[in-house]
């Protein structure tokens, strides 16, 4: 049974998808997501791991995809946005859920929520990841 998505890769990336594990640069202070071996802003390799899971985020921009790649038909239209976490100012590319495109506005506050983002066919792994949605309660 061929797997379309590598199982070791899904396992390796679980903290990134479940907890929003990111890399804070100890040289310039910026937060990298996804985390990499060097800071994408200043090139430093002095990084520390942090998690962004407890932060709300601000919606910077978004796009609505009516013709997604194969496998996402049931999630149409897909809303993909760039959000900035409120405290750490990390910028993330993320799926936006539980909202119609007409309900979104620049600068609105969103909160992280775990969702199923893809399935490897009928028999393969189910992949979960943090997405963002308008908060249950505006505080």
């Amino acid at each position: 049974m061929p797997m379309n998505y590598s199982v070791p890769r899904a396992w390796r990336e679980r903290k990134k998808y479940y907890r929003l594990e990111a890399a804070r640069c100890l040289s310039c202070g910026r937060v990298n997501y996804p985390p990499g071996p060097v800071c994408r802003y200043c090139g430093s390799d002095k990084l520390e791991k942090i998690e962004l899971i407890d932060e709300k985020a601000r919606l910077i921009t978004w796009t609505v995809i009516h013709v997604p790649v194969e496998g996402y038909e049931e999630h149409r239209p897909l809303i993909i946005g760039i959000v900035e976490t409120l405290d750490t100012k990390a910028r993330l590319l993320t799926r936006i859920v539980d909202a119609e495109p007409s309900e979104l506005s620049r600068g609105m506050i969103l909160e992280p929520v775990l969702r199923r983002i893809r399935e490897d066919g009928e028999a393969g792994l189910i992949h979960y990841a943090i997405t963002y949605r308008p908060p249950i309660k505006q505080v």
Binding site: R14, I53, E73, R116, Y128
Partner: protein, 350 residues
């Protein structure tokens, strides 16, 4: 006196989509009075990107906010569901990892129709009392399935509730005592590889739901010397909006003690979350000194009865996470077609 364990954090989750039950009548040609005879108006429907794991995650996040503890202090994650995303592979490890509880914890999925999470609660009480763990996380979460056109489709719904059990000294509500009653009663089942459950028509009431709940609650009363007059609230498993009121009457509880914890009329039966979301809604509004009778039920069949006393810590925790009513108010009505898509009732080649 031993420090009795209690609930240090609680939280629920209800998905955004609601199907008005008149839609089921329209599509399947039932009598128009079906929804009112069940005392259920709408049911909550999990989206295409949700399942019992994602819903359980959000309920647990709310419980963690109210508990105010480091998730890594949790020593057991027990997940009660009858709608596991995988037939084999624990959901509890996905949840433990995503909630920041791994790796030093017990974790497993439990199955007892709608009662698995209640068994998890009883085991958690034992695990905390014995000192085996400091905190245990109990999650009841279901995206309940029903054969399209079966009467069960009116009530099979989606929601989740999580409880963090810990030392009574930190608890919003102390569990004073509990009692369990089970027999082999085949009122509802689903065989392996079958997509939908079957139920013994007319068999789910008297010999199953009513007999087991009444026996568990009477057993608790005998064991403790308590009676209906000793409780501020009573919460029963709620497969529809009428059974809990009938069983309350049989046990001598007035309707007023039951209504605050009766959530099924608004969202349908959320199976492992059914009685627990009622408890969650009561804890959202409870005052110190209030007492709660909780009696979940699961087909197959069994019921547990708990005597719960609310402490002064409840007040500071109530505002730390969204309440059940916050989720009840956040809703979007959908029609049968969208419901069918969300619940995977439309067969596609994938």
């Amino acid at each position: 006196m031993v420090d009795k364990p209690g609930i240090v954090g609680w939280g629920s989750y209800i998905p955004l989509n609601r199907l008005p039950l008149d839609e089921i009548t329209r599509v399947w040609g039932f009598q128009p009075e079906m929804p009112s005879s069940l005392n259920v108006r709408e049911k909550a429907v999990a989206g295409r990107d949700e399942d019992s794991v994602t819903m359980g995650w959000e309920a647990a996040r709310n419980a963690l906010r109210r508990a105010g503890i480091d998730p890594s202090l949790i020593g057991a994650v027990w997940f009660g569901t009858e709608s596991k995303p995988y037939a084999v592979k624990p959901s509890a490890t996905i949840l433990a990892e995503a909630l920041g509880i791994t790796p030093v914890t017990m974790a497993s999925d439990m199955e007892f129709a709608c009662r698995a999470a209640s068994e998890a609660l009883r085991i958690s009480l034992a695990a905390v009392s014995s000192g085996l763990v400091r905190y245990a996380l109990v999650i009841g979460s279901d995206t309940a399935q029903a054969n399209p056109g079966d009467v069960l489709e009116y009530t099979a719904a989606s929601a989740a509730t999580a409880l963090i059990v810990g030392p009574g000294s930190e608890a919003a509500a102390v569990i004073e005592d509990s009692y369990t009653y089970v027999t082999d009663t085949p009122d509802f089942w689903r065989r392996a590889h079958q997509p939908y459950p079957l139920h013994g028509e007319g068999f789910t009431g008297a010999p199953a739901y009513f007999h087991h709940i009444v026996s568990a609650v009477k057993g608790l009363f005998e064991k403790t010397g308590l009676g209906p007059e000793d409780f501020t609230y009573a919460v029963f498993h709620q497969p529809n909006g009428t059974f809990p009121l009938r069983v309350a009457k049989m046990l001598g509880f007035p309707k007023e003690k039951v209504l605050p914890g009766l959530v099924t009329p608004y969202i349908g039966n959320s199976y492992n979350s059914s009685a627990l979301i009622g408890l969650s809604r009561i804890l959202d509004i409870a005052n110190p000194g209030d007492t709660i009778l909780l009696a979940p039920f699961g087909s197959g069949a069994g019921s547990d009865a708990y005597a719960i006393r609310v402490t002064e810590k409840v007040l500071e925790k109530q505002t730390l996470a969204p309440t059940v009513d916050d989720y009840l108010e956040r809703k979007k009505k959908i029609d049968y077609a969208l419901y069918a898509k969300h619940r995977g009732l439309i067969k596609r080649i994938r």
